[in-house]
Symmetry: D2
Amino acid sequence: MQTAVIAGVGPGLGESIARTFADEGCRLALLARSGGFLRDLSDDLPTEAVAVPTDLSEPDEIEAAFETVRDELGPVDVLVNNASVASWTGLLETDREAFDRAYEVGPRAGFLCSREAVRDMLGEARSAPESRANPGGTGDGDGGTIIFTGATTSVRGRKGAVGFSMAKFGSRGLAESMARELGPDGIHVAHVVVDGGIRPPGASDDADEYLDPDAIAETYWRLVEQDRSAWTLELDLRPHVEGF
Amino acid sequence: MQTAVIAGVGPGLGESIARTFADEGCRLALLARSGGFLRDLSDDLPTEAVAVPTDLSEPDEIEAAFETVRDELGPVDVLVNNASVASWTGLLETDREAFDRAYEVGPRAGFLCSREAVRDMLGEARSAPESRANPGGTGDGDGGTIIFTGATTSVRGRKGAVGFSMAKFGSRGLAESMARELGPDGIHVAHVVVDGGIRPPGASDDADEYLDPDAIAETYWRLVEQDRSAWTLELDLRPHVEGF
Amino acid sequence: MQTAVIAGVGPGLGESIARTFADEGCRLALLARSGGFLRDLSDDLPTEAVAVPTDLSEPDEIEAAFETVRDELGPVDVLVNNASVASWTGLLETDREAFDRAYEVGPRAGFLCSREAVRDMLGEARSAPESRANPGGTGDGDGGTIIFTGATTSVRGRKGAVGFSMAKFGSRGLAESMARELGPDGIHVAHVVVDGGIRPPGASDDADEYLDPDAIAETYWRLVEQDRSAWTLELDLRPHVEGF
Amino acid sequence: MQTAVIAGVGPGLGESIARTFADEGCRLALLARSGGFLRDLSDDLPTEAVAVPTDLSEPDEIEAAFETVRDELGPVDVLVNNASVASWTGLLETDREAFDRAYEVGPRAGFLCSREAVRDMLGEARSAPESRANPGGTGDGDGGTIIFTGATTSVRGRKGAVGFSMAKFGSRGLAESMARELGPDGIHVAHVVVDGGIRPPGASDDADEYLDPDAIAETYWRLVEQDRSAWTLELDLRPHVEGF
């Protein structure tokens, strides 16, 4: 049984990932700002689950959240970096605070959450970085999976969205770097380019123009299950009718 | 029950795809030059299977092969374009015949096989292109899946391999074009970048440096099963220890 | 004084490249099917120039053309692979002949012309490939420049243009492979992605939506002049108003 | 006569850009932390030049620096975002401060400097963003050029360099977004992938394995001079002997 952390959970893709991974037998930790939604969702999951209200732009809160997860569910095996802030403004319309926030919730939260998770995956939680010489030493240390949720903007800088373009590219660069570093340690890092709009809650199941969040979550789960002899770093996902 | 054509089958990835797809319940048609190997493999599959000895560099043989497949197994639902000729020579060492052959077995065979398969997928086999206005008309016409086997060289022109670089890039361009054209018709076109060496028959299962062909085939099957609200055009695969 | 071959010359980009390179002092050889246009243009250039009517889909004609160029102007220093056939048809609407022709005029002509030019650049014209051990030996052998004219479709497979997508991707793969092989020999291979429509003859100079062919040609010349300590393999060009 | 700001100037590429642009007739403003080097260099330039000691990780200092530039040299026409901090450490070895600093000196400084420069280029300096409806109104407003110095890591996440990979990808995403937004306003945004080591001061001119910083600077200047009908967003540069 694996412990999965979803960083960035709302009523859309985050919820679908949580439900899919729980159906596959994972213990779930849900991190986001809105405690009420998290608690309702965690109560509704078929496996052990904890809601951990967290402002992902705050490093201290991320650190505390992972301590809670370890206390409640044990070491982390799977992490989904699913948070981002879309700053849909052009160069002159974007203030420094908005640009910083796109960074903090995007690549920096991805970095901080990954660092916490990787310590568990390498069996190093609560130990100093220096001890890494023996990566399989103190915890379970049997590897793990980290998935980043990307977007069209991850591979194509978007007009009128300077902060979002910076942040999504930045997270992709981080994911690629981590994949190259951590693969040999048995940690699978993947980046999924969600190239289209995700079906909003309430929209018809027949709305062909949207990605079904359950279908995205299914592909995320396949990444978790991939044999380590043939791991995917990046894949794209879009509706069959999408013009791209 | 789906009918799958594997164009390019040898004792490696082609065989693994055939076995995996048969285990998932597909009828199989195996196309390659070496009749003996094809027949032994088709006899060994748990589902209906036909060996169709075919020189994929010959347009007439491709056309005849698909006629045989339709006669024996019915319309095609899944096609895997798995053939390529690696012309590992530099510019001055490559003669025109070798360069042509890389084209003929690579992008041109992919084009010709896809054209045959798509006619079935759109319900148009044996009917004129003009009738396409009613794509679901005469055959099953309920869509399908076409997967191209790519390589590192599909995305990075390789020093000392002019023909192979041309051919693998060319097939990728073809796949992308087809994905954009055929997605709205319910045909999923995917291109898999196999970024590393595939474990040769006889090598140890523990040889970490190779991609396990069964693991690749498993990912191919997941592409066939993807929900059409979230289709992948491209993904990469490599061993966890691969430096890339 | 350098000798430049433009393979694929019409009243547009090809003509602009010829005029720009002649203004910079190059001897010019113009290759294309339409002899009349070539002769008028070569007569109008300020430097020595030869019109060599050539069907670039015919290997023998390419070989003969380069013999003519060597006889008339000496060894080749610069080659621009500027020919392509746009096969703007979808999968079922494209016949084998059209697909083959896209290959022959695109990547294959690029390969054959490059092979001829590189023999000159390495000082190997008329000598056997085996003699390459001494690349600077018999001719001028002081390197050279090869530029491929790419298009939007070189990096993005285009819906409804299977042959063109295959051919433009294929040429790009060839260019990348050649760049890696030939750079150490002092031959600069570059691929220019012309991402937009080139201003047609007769259109107003003020038409912002087009690329000015003279401006493209200017960038081509800068590639010829780049110091070999900082060579460009690929760059894109588009009008400032282009949405992309 | 154009006014150019080089943000990030040391004895290497920054100095070469400054000297090259001055030779072409630009007024120069040099921004970096080390005041002494800046002053010596600015004194040595053949055109009007100001040294503006600036910590590019500090938003207030950037704002003040551009005020100084405007007071001393007038509105900015050209900006080169040349600063970056290479955080060459892996995931667990990188602390939050180092990761933040890679962001602040890289994409954030690029954003802040670009915002200042674009206000000048659009003729909006000292006016509120809301007034942009008339972009050519109050200043010279005749466009400009912004160049980002990228690296191999801008397009390929580097093992063991999580902060640098995030920052270089992030800057590239920002540059692409800005190029799409600002091109129609006559502002040319370009991103140069410097794919190799730049020759360090003191190394031999014959050292083939390095990029000559003067040669890089020459290409930067060509970008400034490109006709707006054929602008380059991205190009790569590497030594002719580079294996890549």
